[in-house]
């Protein structure tokens, strides 16, 4: 018997590969429970009848104690009625005390339907997780990122959707001896009322930005499209990608797909350089998990400096060209 059972609802992409957010959640919960005796992390995989060995291996390395596979060809396509039935039945059987989903488009649609079916509470789009006395404390930004709220759920399972890329995937020194369990839920006769007609892929949906190691971002302070060309140059020199604040996107300087922040992309780069960005809370919410943040801004009171590891009070238009030539010098 385990005192603390956590069930993570895994998500697969169209090629039946695990999304990073599932591994991020496994890794984070493994870290949170490492000193809790009798804790158990289960990951639920829902998909067609194929071999899931490589997924199981990935999950062993990140800390899953058990992988529950419900494979049925009828589950190849996501259908909310069928997936809800699978998750709810497995939760009723396994009785986890904590239930987690990735806050992907699918997760944010499925989770509230599942938790309403189970009559339990749900915290949305969390950016922080903690376990205090075997209970979940989930943190999320509210009011456009201006305030963080820690949410406690008094019903079980305590449930949350967690934003992708806020946690890192840390492989354990030794993979866990993960148990693999097959289960099956009959969804053949489910009263399905939605039908998928067509899938339209859009590969350029700035996956680049979310996975980039280095991001150079600009705000209204970059003034024009030409200003962003300067950032392109710096990004090219560093091997990075260009992003933008909401204000810059609203002003038409960059496309919506480049927007970083609570209503745009969450980035988890090793280095984030914010140029001419004042640092509205909603922007900070999208960059806070970056390893190092550099800010360049003419206004010494700009809030962005509070969140920067290194800040330069100065004009990005003067500093960036000089920085590029210094970086080229070092490269040589």
């Amino acid at each position: 018997m385990s005192d603390l059972k956590i069930l993570i609802v895994g998500e697969l992409n169209q090629n039946n590969e695990l999304l990073p957010v599932t591994l991020q959640l496994t890794s984070k919960t493994a870290e949170l429970t490492k000193d809790i005796p009798n804790s158990k992390i289960q990951v639920l995989i829902i998909g067609p009848r194929i071999i899931y060995d490589s997924i199981t291996e990935q999950l062993s390395k990140t800390g899953a104690d058990e992988v529950i596979i419900t494979n049925d060809d009828i589950l190849r396509e996501y259908n909310i009625t069928r997936y809800n039935k699978v998750v709810s039945e497995i939760v009723r059987k396994e009785q986890p005390s904590i239930l987690l989903f990735g806050a992907t488009h699918r997760g944010r649609e499925l989770a509230p339907v599942v938790t309403t079916t189970l009559e339990t509470g749900l915290t949305a789009d969390c950016t922080g997780l903690d376990i205090i006395e075997n209970r979940l404390s989930a943190t999320r930004p509210t009011y456009g990122g201006k305030l963080n709220a820690a949410i406690y759920c008094k019903t079980f399972p305590q449930s949350a959707t967690v934003r992708p890329n806020v946690f890192k995937i840390n492989e354990l020194p030794e993979p866990k001896n993960t148990n693999v369990k097959f289960d099956w839920v009959d969804t053949f006769n489910s009263d399905v009322k939605t039908n998928l007609i067509e899938v339209i892929n859009e590969t350029a949906r700035n996956k680049d930005l979310e996975n980039a190691k280095i991001v150079v971002s600009g705000g209204l302070g970059m003034k024009s499209k030409e200003g962003f060309l300067l950032l392109e140059e710096l990004a090219a020199c560093l091997g990075g990608v260009v992003g933008a604040s909401r204000a810059a996107v609203d002003a038409g300087l960059m496309p919506q797909s480049a927007q970083v922040g609570q209503t745009g992309k969450t980035v988890s780069a090793k280095l984030y350089i914010a140029c001419g960005i004042s640092g509205a809370a909603q922007h900070i919410a999208g960059i806070n998990s970056c390893d190092k943040i550099i800010a360049i801004n003419t206004d010494k009171d700009a809030p962005v400096f509070k969140y920067a590891d290194y800040g330069i009070v100065g004009d990005a238009f003067e500093i960036i060209p000089q920085l590029i030539s210094e970086l080229v010098k070092i490269k040589k």
Partner: protein, 261 residues
């Protein structure tokens, strides 16, 4: 087509300020219709223009939320309900969806399509719509970018996914949660405002919608805020205020080099 649109009144996020104890300073903060809900109503109005029908807007909130419903009537909604009871306050998404469920099953039984905004700009949970659908035992499609076709039996939707779009056919009655669309939301004309100024907002309390008051509001909410705090800044920030461009560039180049990227 009988359409119900769920509307939330939210503070204008752009002018939010905080009290010392991290509670919202309500004085001076302008309240607006949640921008996603404006698109929900605009979507409903376009469907009505196309296939005919009747639009009812529903909001749960304090008396002042009636202002948003007035605005919705001026935009072209036919009827407005305000769910207002002291028991309803402090609700999380679960209790909110339950209260809406009581209202719809008691007053709007013949609803064929429910439209919600994808999320509200204050809470940004995106949970109330799908949760409501499940309580009503209706199907739901969220992240809806466009309604392509609608008739008495089904609705054909283009929805956003993590990797692009999907086209989904949903049987009615059902619930859709809409994103902002490419179209503009209409602004009522002065004469539309005058014409609808006297229209009644029907105020409903727990008893009138047959709600078990203990299952609504704070008491009916499984989740509570246990504490609030401002996002933390970085420790050991090094801010250089008086370097010229050349000096600044040298410092940054060194720091970046040390990161060994």
């Amino acid at each position: 087509m009988k359409i119900t649109v769920c509307i939330k009144q939210v503070p204008d996020t752009n002018d939010i300020t905080w009290n010392e104890n991290n509670t919202l300073r309500r004085e001076g903060a302008e309240s607006i219709i949640n921008p996603y809900d404006e698109y929900a109503l605009e979507t409903a109005l376009r469907i009505k223009e196309q296939v005919g029908g009747k639009i009812t807007v529903v909001s749960m909130g304090p008396k002042q939320a009636g202002d948003c419903l007035k605005e919705a009537l001026a935009m072209g909604a036919d009827r407005a309900f305000l769910l207002n009871d002291r028991y309803f306050s402090g609700a999380d998404t679960s209790a909110t969806s339950r209260t809406l469920y009581y209202a719809i099953t008691s007053k709007l039984k013949d609803t064929e399509l429910i439209i919600c905004g994808q999320c509200a700009t204050d809470g940004d949970t995106a949970q109330t719509g799908p949760s409501l659908a499940q309580r009503l035992n209706m199907p739901v499609v969220s992240f809806v970018k466009d309604v392509e076709e609608i008739n008495e039996e089904y609705i054909l939707i283009k929805k956003e996914t993590d990797t692009g779009y999907e086209r989904v056919k949903m049987q009615l009655p059902g619930v859709i949660c809409v994103l902002k669309n490419d179209f503009e939301v209409r602004i009522p004309t002065i004469s539309q405002r005058i014409d609808t100024a006297d229209k009644d907002i029907e105020v409903l309390d727990a008893e009138m919608i047959g709600a078990d008051a203990d299952k609504t509001g704070f008491r009916g909410s499984p989740t509570n805020v246990s504490k609030t705090f401002r996002p933390a800044g970085r420790e050991n920030s090094e801010i250089f205020v008086d370097k010229n461009a050349q000096e600044a560039a040298v410092i940054l180049a060194e720091k970046i080099n040390e990161m060994r990227l």
